[in-house]
């Protein structure tokens, strides 16, 4: 099948094609459709570390490709991909113990938030959000990103992350307080 034909297929058809015909171009089309959102999300989760986020995104897609036969067609491909991405991110955090930076512990961080150095106005907001999210521990960070940025429901977040609904609600309530405090400290 020609590449331009793949763009008209829905995701279930692309998965079926990749699995049954071992068609890597079909999977490449899935990558093209989701890479931007996934890479952006991972940048938000990794304190806007672009190289690290892209490495994690690559790992996520490779993992997704290996497990493509297990994908259930009734699920949303993006949710399934986010679940893998979240697990890849968490594995990395466990290995490298990615820092959770508190605004109290690191007064320079509030300055960084305020100054937003060397970024244009549009990209500054993304860096600010990433810096703010970095003050939360990784699981809470992911929940808050999915809730506040991706606008997923509590149930969707629970399904994506594989954590109980009550935990999601707790993370949102407590995480919001921390982020609001951080934002207030930054505005000063």
């Amino acid at each position: 099948m020609k590449k331009q034909d793949l763009t008209i297929l829905d995701e279930a058809q692309l998965v079926e094609l990749a699995v049954s015909k071992n068609d890597q171009l079909a999977f490449a089309e899935l990558v093209n459709r989701h890479q931007s959102n996934l890479r952006y999300s991972l940048r938000q989760l990794t304190d806007w570390n672009e190289a690290l986020a892209d490495d994690l995104a690559q790992d996520t897609f490779i993992q997704a490709f290996k497990e493509l036969a297990k994908f259930r067609q009734q699920a949303k491909f993006s949710s399934w991909l986010y679940r893998i991405g979240y697990n890849v991110f968490l594995q990395h955090v466990r290995k490298k113990a990615l820092d959770t930076q508190s605004l109290d512990e690191n007064p320079l961080l509030s300055n960084q938030l305020e100054q937003g150095p060397e970024h244009d106005e549009e990209s500054e907001v993304h860096h600010k959000v990433a810096k703010l999210l970095a003050t939360l521990e990784p699981e809470r960070r992911s929940v808050l990103h999915l809730f506040l940025h991706r606008q997923n429901t509590h149930q969707e977040i629970s399904d994506i992350m594989g954590v109980p609904l009550g935990t999601v609600k707790t993370h949102i309530n407590r995480g919001r307080v921390v982020l609001q405090d951080g934002l207030q400290a930054w505005r000063g």
Binding site: V31, Y40, I62, V125, L132, H149
Partner: protein, 122 residues
Amino acid sequence: MNNENTYKADQDPLDALFASARQAQPNLIDHSFTKILVNSLPKVNFMAQKERARKGLSFDLIGAVIGLLMAYLFIDQTSLVSSFIGLIPESLVISPLLVISAIAAVGFSSIVAWWMVEDDSF
């Protein structure tokens, strides 16, 4: 997708910040990302994976059928049922101490369950 948290966007600075980030989210177009990724994809035999999963399911079903058959042939169902019935007490006295103990047990179990769910180490 659901925007159950957007109703506060006008009032809450946090929601406003995330809303502006969402609106300004860049489309990260990078053809080399997809190229590098596709080149590094491992060889995966999806048909073999499916076959393994199917065989695994078949073995589970065969095992379950053999287990049920053996249980039917070697276990005396009449004595099994009567021994279960024998476990049911003939009378039950609900005393205040029993009620307090039951409430304490349920309360303690609930606290332990809540703590296990909320604590990240589990």
